[in-house]
């Protein structure tokens, strides 16, 4: 079976100023179908740059990127745009919703763009909005929503085209604990249904849903391993009420 994501010695060096700044320094990463990978590490470790390159939102300096068995780092910008519509869902820390469309249409649009029939797109929209407790906000404009609600809309939108790969960059950065709970539940559900996910996050609750955690430091992978499930604990292992 082909890996959904494969990078070979992936490098990104920013050349904005006089001094070149290496952000990603030789990353070899493989993500199998259905895997949920959390990418963690201090700020400036190259996490966001890596995930942006995987989604074609930033170009690589050298190395290879393969998605679903197809080499993509050599694609033109328009070919990337097409590939994203079909295969990739993206959630950013800032939601990038279309301001003059309703919440519902924001969610429905990617499904239509990916070629789903209007009926299928509508059904997808309704089930995602319901899963994120947003059904009664469907006709609102994004600006009328709270930050937490907008973030949930952004997640619904990213999942609307049933992407082969969901990429996310700090998707719970703006959520309070109740909103986070809805997002966690949906992420857990889609992952159970086989959704492949690569997610940059500082949020340990979200990261702990992943199968695997990849830690970056200074643009390199310094740890890559599974999160073991123990299912034995109580809160007493962390909080000791004396």
């Amino acid at each position: 079976m082909n890996a959904v994501v494969r990078t070979v010695n992936l490098v990104k060096i920013y050349q904005d100023g006089a001094v070149p700044v290496p952000a990603v320094r030789g990353v070899d990463l493989q993500v199998q179908p259905g895997e949920f990978v959390a990418v963690m590490g201090p700020s400036g470790s190259g996490k966001s740059t890596l995930v942006h390159m995987l989604g074609g939102l930033d170009t690589r300096t050298s190395g290879e990127i393969w998605l679903d068995g197809k080499r993509v780092d050599t694609l033109s910008e328009s070919a990337w745009a097409l590939l994203r519509r079909k295969k990739i869902g993206f959630v950013f820390q800032f939601f990038n919703l279309v301001a003059n469309m309703t919440v519902g249409d924001n969610v429905e649009l990617p499904a239509l763009l990916s070629g789903a029939s209007p009926k299928v797109a509508r059904r997808r929209r309704e089930s995602l909005l319901a899963a994120l407790n947003l059904t009664d906000r469907a006709d609102a404009a994004p600006a009328q929503l709270s930050g937490g609600e907008q973030q949930r809309v952004a997640l619904a939108r990213a999942l609307a085209n049933e992407p082969a790969l969901l990429l996310a960059d700090e998707p719970t950065g703006n959520l309070d604990s109740r909103n986070t709970r809805d997002v966690l539940r949906l992420l857990g559900d889609v992952h159970k249904d086989g959704q492949t996910i690569v997610m940059v996050t500082h949020d340990a609750r979200v990261a702990s849903l992943a199968d695997r955690v990849v830690s970056l430091f200074d643009g390199e992978i310094v740890d890559d391993g599974r999160i073991t499930r123990r299912r034995t604990g109580t809160a007493g292992e962390v909080i000791d009420l004396r």
Binding site: A204, V213, S215, G225, E237, L241
Partner: protein, 168 residues
């Protein structure tokens, strides 16, 4: 445990097993169930210190049971406990000692220690996530306890990241 039992007895007199049940009902499955032996030992000490008193209640066909009630001195001690500010949580410093000291001996690499600890915290967090999903939201005490544990773990992870930035 002493003051937890005094607080429960301030509500109403009870015997040892009732106290165990009251603790379990209050904190739910989120907290380890108290040991009945430890409850009896603690009650014995409280009685010796004059903070509770026991009366034997006859039961038909069974040995007498001891019902405990709070004394005036016990109530005073309880009130002092409630009125005092509470010390902050103990920071789990054993890992930090390891992180600082172990590399000096050459037996461990800081980056490896941090990576292993991060995965351990995430595994604990995964447990708590699962526990929270099994806890009915209406069970406020258990839910808040789990959320508290999660926030502490998040702080531990953030601290780990700071250590990585500065020490590794």
């Amino acid at each position: 445990m002493r003051l937890h039992l005094l607080a429960l007895l301030a509500k109403e007199p009870a015997h040892g097993y009732e106290l165990k049940q009251a603790l379990e009902q209050t904190f739910g499955s989120a907290y380890p169930s108290p040991n009945i032996g430890q409850i009896y030992v603690t009650l014995g000490r409280l009685e010796k210190d004059g903070l509770v008193r026991a009366v034997d209640v006859e039961q038909s066909n069974r040995p007498n049971k001891k019902v405990y009630y709070l004394t005036a001195k016990g109530r005073e001690v309880l009130e002092i406990w409630v009125d005092e500010p509470t010390e902050g949580p103990r920071v789990r410093d054993e890992f930090f000692m390891k992180l600082v000291l172990a590399p000096l001996t050459g037996i461990a690499d800081r980056m490896a220690l941090i990576s292993r600890q991060r995965r351990h915290y995430l595994s604990l967090m995964s447990d708590l996530n699962e526990l929270l999903s099994r806890t009915p939201p209406a069970d406020r005490v258990a839910t808040l306890l789990i959320e508290g544990a999660m926030l502490h773990l998040q702080a531990d992870l953030d601290w780990l990241e700071r250590c990585q930035e500065d020490l590794a």
